[in-house]
Symmetry: C2
Subunit: 378 residues, 2 copies
Amino acid sequence: MTAKLKGETREPPDITRTAVTAAAEPIQVNFNSLPAEENPPERISIRDVAKQAGVSIATVSMVVNQNPRISRGTHVRVQRVIDSMGYRPNRLAQSLSSRYTQVLAVILPPLRHAFADAYFGEILSGISDRAGKLGHKLLIEQAKPQYIKEGKHIELYERRFVDGVLCLGFNEKHGFLSDLRQYPMILVDNRFGEGVLDYVHCDYRMGAKQAMNCLLQLGHRNIGMIYAAPESPTARDVLEVYTTELRNAGIEVKESWMADGCFTDEGGAAAADLLTHRDKDLTALLCGNDKMALGAIRYLVEHGHKVPQDISVVGFDDIQHLAYANPSLTTVHLPLYELGVAACERLVSRIRGKVDRVAEVLPTHLVLRESTSIVRTR
Amino acid sequence: MTAKLKGETREPPDITRTAVTAAAEPIQVNFNSLPAEENPPERISIRDVAKQAGVSIATVSMVVNQNPRISRGTHVRVQRVIDSMGYRPNRLAQSLSSRYTQVLAVILPPLRHAFADAYFGEILSGISDRAGKLGHKLLIEQAKPQYIKEGKHIELYERRFVDGVLCLGFNEKHGFLSDLRQYPMILVDNRFGEGVLDYVHCDYRMGAKQAMNCLLQLGHRNIGMIYAAPESPTARDVLEVYTTELRNAGIEVKESWMADGCFTDEGGAAAADLLTHRDKDLTALLCGNDKMALGAIRYLVEHGHKVPQDISVVGFDDIQHLAYANPSLTTVHLPLYELGVAACERLVSRIRGKVDRVAEVLPTHLVLRESTSIVRTR
DNA sequence: GTTAACTGTTTAATCAGTTTAACAATCCAT
DNA sequence: ATGGATTGTTAAACTGATTAAACAGTTAAC
């Protein structure tokens, strides 16, 4: 009979409703000045503001959205009421009505330490900073097998959680990416198919060329390569440039000079083990990322090889706080922060329908430090 | 006159509306089988399902929410229609109506590398996993000064972005925390005031005791301490236990044995520098976290001190991949993943109104590795 | 001095759900 | 056969915003 009381509390739902599947600034605070518990502040809606200001809710909405059809006088008058009442528009209602959530999702690969990874972290910083500036919030998801199986990545759009998705650490092998083809999304630091998905990635070919030039100029001819994820287009870029540059220098490329290091520290160490035993004449190692390079250096040092005197090592990424490693690492600097910024920027442009398919490649540069030196003479 | 066309596209808003302030499973994909671009799938609403199933929208809603008032037969019949149509409830409408968003925010401190931090990463993993299981999404925010000044942390609730907030890496010095007092929130790995805020933290007193016991048992008597953030209650716990344990062992505590390492690698190195010059007789260092411990070891090794032969070092955190460091680090293991899980669990319970003020402390244990040894005899 | 164009505001429909109260239909006891 | 309790379903109100279309009041043009 009577309308539901405003502010009445209800029980929150215990389960997620997914319908489709039926299964399953530092300021010192004086604690004494803080009342132990306060009633939650009562919600002020657009109707309350409209009533108080003596206008319609449409007018309030237009003031909030800075619609130019509202006169200066009305704008000021209503804005004063808004400020005095502390009105904040309910974003759920805004999004329901406007069809835009102003939220983006970042999908990370299902690695145990994805959240603590320097590579992802740097990209995330860029994404987060730019998203904030563009007035967007960030949802973080991890694409575990179960997650994909349940179609949660599609729900992200279909249930209106987000306007767009940024995918980090995936490549063509990850079939779920093509499920997102029809929605706003961007693949970060890789590419996919031919004009199938939007992407932004670092120029791994340029980076590989810079690294190889460096090693060749230092006189190295027996150069090993610790790669990873050969199914990844950008990883293949590096491998291709590696072999091409060797050939161009008149060096015969040996299959035994290459090993998979799985992008990990341990993998890098294992690969260094393998490579140094397969060919004792290797004087340099090119590594697909810094983590593998560090693993390799650790292995080499522990097994009596001096770095760089016996073997030079070059990495990829230029992860922070590694300049302190001993020896410090010569590496290809990837503009990961900028990559995140660009990816976020492009995605939002796509959401706003302003641009066509995005395909951008960001330049790299070599950072020469202590893990490389002129080739040893026998 | 005519109703707006369904699926008609509108322009997304260019600005954030904040009213209050007027200022400012790997599967290979065959690309050829993918149509270049598809029309976005048309939205299916609860009304479409109701019509198709020949029931009211209330019934569909109750089926989706597994309301027991719906008969078995109706449930099955409607569920079939839901599945066949691929209906997914719009979460914005659900949340607007139900008053619960099923979204939690994680607020990180404004550090440059907060997203790539092993400490935060581990906690985040726990939070993320548990949030997923509880049917909640995660929003990630960084509390930059501007962010707090603009009251964005309060908007998180007031504009219905989230149901609750987890705060990582903050302490009593961070005044904005008290703004959140009246909303569901939990302070992670610290405490605040006396029953003012919910919190879960590791038992730093226990950890400090374990570390000191170890060092004292190894015969050390001149033990230095590299602390950080002395305004933090948990950091003070460690300092207090450190001094108490020394006194209990009949050792006079010297002010010159303590230095602030700012929780960073460089800070740890600088503190080690300071401490070893202030007192050449120090045989052990207790460090507030692993990063400082590593910085200290790096400094010590580079300056001719052998670790552990000359100086033993104990850390705090037990960050992954550090077991490989040389020497590997003896450290107090903090159950950070479990901390994240517990924090998330408790927060959701609070949101559901099931429990009172949360104040939980998780046990630690010492991991003995190579950076500690029996005290050197002169 | 009408008519047309422009301004600023409001009305009402819409977004897509949840929930309360009412209602119809069946069941059991009187 | 009548009344009350029980069960399953629906109508309608409600969540809090946006926006197209209508409308009233001025001003400009013919």
